[in-house]
């Protein structure tokens, strides 16, 4: 079992109920796409899976760690097995790509290795290989503030590839990429998960990208699960119902809308969660 959410509700400090009565589970190795209108609760759901937020109601068992790990060390051990691709890559501009990728293993490295690696990167081939998989091998030693938004997003993906987590959580992983690259990147993530038997949960804005690549689709609306179906059973009417109020058109790759304000709100939520 990769995770089991049982009646999970999540209320933010300002009283907003982001999630209500979510019951969802996945076997190890499943690949799930979360879709739904913006503000539906996809990011909140991923935050609960990523242990950033503990549910206010219900239980969340992640990677056989049981509900709520007992100690800080146990939580850290669990988190080292979860890799998150963020909507806006959380990488300091002045850091070099190699360091940003190596940071993926901080949860597993002893402290001395982490600190020494700041002075001289201790696993250049590893970082290079991860960057190579997202077509950025030539940017190995480039500073992140010299990369474009799309390149930076791919560095974030390379970090998770390098981390080799058992559970990959991806929050709009390809929103900054052009359609062709987005498709290639989603396939790369799926291939990586498949090869290592890891579970992948990705929230996607583009419905076609989700249905075309993932076996299981979970529709989220207003903090609840609207449907949870194999990709083949998700029909157009269902989607229209999910996105009702978005202007009648389904969000697809070809004209991926970019919701800056939404990204900012999500950022704020993450910040509140762990700091």
């Amino acid at each position: 079992m990769a995770f089991r959410l049982n009646g999970v509700g999540l209320a933010y400090a300002n009283g907003f109920d982001a999630l209500k009565g979510i019951t969802l589970q996945a076997a190890q190795g499943e690949r799930i796409a979360l879709i739904g209108p913006s503000g539906a609760g996809k990011t909140s759901l991923l935050s609960v899976l990523g242990t950033a937020w503990a549910p206010t109601v219900g239980t969340a068992e992640i990677l056989d760690a049981g509900d709520r790990p007992r100690s800080a060390a146990a939580l850290a051990r669990l988190r080292a097995r979860i890799g998150t691709i963020h909507q806006s890559p959380p990488i300091p501009g002045r850091q070099r790509a190699v360091t940003a990728v190596l940071a993926g293993r901080l949860g597993r490295w002893p402290a001395w290795k982490s600190l020494a690696s700041l002075i001289y990167p201790l696993d250049i081939p590893g970082a290079g290989a991860a960057l190579d998989r997202v077509d950025l091998a030539d940017k190995l030693f480039a500073r992140c503030d010299q990369l474009s938004g799309g390149q930076l997003q791919r560095v974030g993906i390379a970090r998770v590839l390098y981390q080799q987590p058992d559970l990959i959580l991806a929050d709009e992983p390809v929103s900054a990429l052009d359609p062709a690259l987005a498709l290639a990147t989603i396939r790369l993530l799926i291939a990586d998960a498949e090869a290592r038997g890891a579970t992948l949960v990705a929230s996607l804005h583009a419905v076609d990208l989700a249905i075309g690549n993932f076996s299981r689709i979970v529709g989220v609306k207003a903090g609840r699960i609207a449907f949870d179906l194999p990709a083949g059973e998700v029909g157009i009417p269902l989607l229209h119902e999910l996105y009702a109020g978005e202007g009648g058109e389904l969000p697809v790759q070809a004209h991926e809308p970019h919701f800056l304000s939404q990204a900012a709100a999500n950022d704020a939520a993450t910040r509140a969660a762990c700091c």
């Binding site: 950033a52 190699v98 901080l106 402290a111 982490s114 600190l115 990167p121």
Partner: protein, 518 residues
């Protein structure tokens, strides 16, 4: 794409060179500063400082002493306020002349700029020492000294703030035929006023600390009392004076925080911008300024009588030409090196200590510790470190480090709090333990700010290091003090020029390092 498996970090070479250069540069500086951590734990020294600290309790509370203390505190406040008024009056026209803002062609006025450099480059205590001689005894010297140095600093920062705001509104006004002053009033000031006001209030806070030490050279105020209490090793008096310092600095801190916050309040909905609060504030300011000048007769007008101008003339003439004989230059050069060493070692120690104090800042005791370190001026710390580790440059470096650690700790904590948190959070969510998550996530975001703060402090510390010798803590200060005491003006003049050049050189080096970091 194929990856070259033998790829090596291209930055490794330059990092190695840097790692080798830094100790090579720092080692002689640490030697020159006579850094001897052992001295801190020397049993004899421990006994001396222990006795001294034990004498802190109970703090002196005799009526006669408290009377002196109250008068000295008022004097300090008066010097600070009057000095700031003078500095402000000086800074406004100078900033107007120096700034490139609002000009059709961006010409920087080199004459005004260099005047500002000279005003800022000579520490206020040196100005005070000179003015005590020229203008006689009493607080006028302190007021003038503060006025000049702070006038120079305010003007420079005003000029920079005006240059940093959006130039377009002023440009448009000028194109529409407005003159430069009006274009600046309507086009630049609305954008810059908050920052200008905020910096002015911050400087007033600094002026209080600075006027505290004026007494060390005979310009009255709390410094004079502190100087004597320390010289006589009178712990009880020193404790009371220190408490007064802190009270003063904390209240100034609180007041300036309140003033800065009130700048953020939206305006009332009425045609006149001046409401009851502005009127009250204005009256209080006026009353404060007048009272400050009245207190102990800070009579600046008397400075411009013919006889006074004459005596200033002869006094200044004595300083020219500076003594450039080889053995004096040799002595001054050694003083310069020692001063540089004190400033570098002091700033580095402070950076390390400040960082350690900034990390756990959320806990109450650390805030109190930071504020305590910060509120005691370097020169006062020096009187104590001299006791703890003996006379010499190490005492100076320690004194700088103590005060600066308080300042930097606070700035670092702010910079870390303002650094984008997402990166560090993400790493912690990937299971990274605290310190690696901090080093990989938070630190790189805050680093430019941290480095900039440290370098700015170094620029201030070189000016401070130059005068720590007044209390026996090494550097150029002792040379200057002795030569001025002996009326060897030509030699003193060499020392002052050396101080000026040194501070200019450090400013340049710091600016270069900051550019390098980007």
């Amino acid at each position: 794409m194929l990856l070259n498996p033998s790829a090596r970090d291209p930055a490794a070479r330059s990092r190695l060179i840097a790692a080798l250069t830094v100790p090579v540069v720092l080692w002689p500086l640490f030697r020159a500063a006579e850094v001897e951590p052992g001295a801190l734990f020397d049993p004899d020294n421990l006994k001396v400082i222990g006795h001294f600290l034990a004498a802190f309790l109970p703090p002196e509370s005799g009526a006669e002493f408290l009377g002196y203390l109250a008068r000295a505190t008022l004097e300090t406040l008066a010097i600070a306020t009057a000095g700031m008024v003078l500095a402000f009056l000086l800074a406004v026209p100078l900033a107007y002349l120096a700034t490139g803002a609002g000009r059709e062609q961006p010409t920087l006025n080199p004459l005004t700029r260099s005047l500002l450099t000279v005003l800022r480059g000579i520490p206020e205590l040196v100005w005070a020492l000179l003015f005590v001689r020229v203008f006689g005894l009493g607080p006028a010297a302190g007021v003038l000294a503060l006025g000049l140095t702070y006038g120079g600093m305010l003007a420079k920062v005003y000029a920079e703030i005006l240059e940093s705001v959006d130039a377009a509104p002023a440009r448009v006004l000028r194109h529409n035929g407005a003159g430069r002053p009006l274009a600046m009033l309507y086009g630049l000031l609305p954008l810059a006023s908050k920052e200008l006001a905020s910096y002015t209030v911050y400087r007033w806070e600094c002026a209080i600390r600075a006027s505290v030490v004026m007494g060390f050279v005979g310009a009255g105020g709390l410094g004079q009392l502190m100087d004597q209490a320390m010289k006589m090793l009178n712990g009880g008096e020193a404790a009371t004076i220190l408490l007064t310092f802190m009270l003063l600095v904390f209240s100034a801190d609180g007041l300036s925080g309140w003033l800065r916050r009130s700048l953020d309040r939206p305006p009332a909905n009425r045609p006149s911008p001046f409401g009851g609060r502005s009127a009250f504030f204005g009256l209080a300011l006026l009353a404060g300024a007048v009272a400050s000048f009245k207190y102990r007769d800070i009579d600046l007008a008397s400075l411009w009588r013919l006889e006074a101008v004459n005596s200033i003339g002869t006094f200044v003439a004595d300083f020219f030409p500076p003594d450039l004989s080889a053995d004096w230059l040799d002595k001054v050069a050694r003083g310069v090196w020692e001063t540089l060493a004190i400033s570098v070692v002091g700033t580095l120690l402070a950076a390390v200590a400040g960082m350690l104090l900034a990390l756990p800042r959320r806990w109450m005791p650390f805030t109190v510790l930071l504020n305590t370190l910060r509120s005691v001026p370097e020169l006062v710390w020096a009187t104590m470190t001299v006791l703890a580790v003996g006379l010499g440059p190490f005492a100076g470096a320690l004194a700088l480090a103590l005060h600066t650690a308080g300042v930097l700790g606070r700035l670092y904590a702010e910079a870390l709090a303002n650094a984008p948190p997402a990166a560090g959070c993400a790493l912690r969510l990937a299971g990274a333990p605290g310190s690696p998550a901090f080093c990989y996530g938070t630190l790189p975001g805050a680093a430019p700010q941290l480095v900039a703060y440290t370098l700015y402090r170094w620029e201030m510390n070189i000016r401070m290091a130059a005068i720590l010798g007044f209390v026996g803590a090494g550097g150029l200060g002792q040379l200057l003090y002795v030569e001025l005491s002996l009326f060897h003006q030509a030699r003193a003049s060499t020392v002052i020029v050396a101080m000026l050049l040194l501070s200019i050189a450090v400013d340049q080096a710091s600016a270069w390092l900051r550019r390098k970091m980007h």
